[in-house]
Point group: C2
Chain length 148, copies 2
DNA sequence: AGAACTTATGTGTATATACTCATAAGTTCT
DNA sequence: AGAACTTATGAGTATATACACATAAGTTCT
């Protein structure tokens, strides 16, 4: 017997969470990077420096967890920061397997230089996505990130 | 005169749109890819195949625009699909500069195989992010993607 | 028609991302 | 203490991403 041709209704696909979350990330990243360009770091690096500023000294695993990033990805991102003198790392004093990462003076200066540019970008972002809504949304992301 | 140490209030940084949109994209991508793994395509490829199914034959520029993706990124993504026999492309008949991309039979089969898995993932996603809210959100993304 | 301009795409390069596998350090169990 | 297990990290590999630059085809202007 011949199979009936599948006639799938793809109408829902444009709402695909994978597609649209990636699409937003691409758009927002490009927007933020244009805004903070003069600080000579990119959007991801700004996030890393800000997280380091708050958490230092911090291990690869802990920082990756905080950023919802694979630890191998983070590790390589940190290598680039370190290459550029924005952070440094050393083996953990208590647990030698760990890599303890800290901001350098130069890293802190880059963060400070980028901050007002970032702030402007974030304010401008709120002209499109309501601030209250966005913050609720971020909370939801962070509450559920383990679920995924 | 000595400079007073900058004392920037970084409390807003955890709401950074760049950080959080990327964070969500990473989490959701990993979630969807685990779900559709058995279709032997990844989340991005599913989106590309679905878009191709709807728009074929389509040029690099038009497809990239639709997906909010840099055209050079899309071009390389399409190369991989083509390498795997999921789509093919030929020079435009009217405008020879164009690359006209179409799904192959194999590409359509992959899409059909992945679809129910995708659907399940999307339903499960809606258990966390309310469907109505998410769809409003997606509309907002797509309305404003040019702004960024 | 030929020059100047515009447009569609590809290439080089660099970062981001994450999976699998490897290794060394720490912990637990006997 | 030594074996077995666990944990923190790095390396190999592959895809995703996008900027700057290059090129070829199409269009417009004179």
């Amino acid at each position: 017997m011949l199979h009936k041709a599948k006639n799938i209704d793809y109408d829902e696909v444009p709402y695909c969470a994978c597609l649209n979350s990636r699409k937003l990330a691409r758009a927002v990243t490009s927007f933020f990077e244009r805004k903070i360009k003069h600080a000579e770091i990119n959007g991801n690096q700004f996030s890393l420096l800000a997280a380091l500023n708050r958490m230092q000294p911090v291990t690869v695993n802990r920082l990756a967890g905080q950023l919802g990033m694979d630890r191998t990805t983070l590790s390589r991102n940190v290598n680039l920061l370190e290459r550029d003198g924005l952070c440094d790392s050393q083996p953990g004093r208590e647990d030698k397997r760990q890599r303890e990462i800290s901001l350098t003076k130069k890293g802190k200066e880059s963060l400070e230089k980028a901050y007002p540019l970032w702030k402007e970008a974030q304010e401008e972002f709120y002209k499109i996505f309501d601030e209250i809504e966005w913050k609720k949304y971020v909370s939801k992301i962070n509450e559920n990130i383990e679920e995924f």
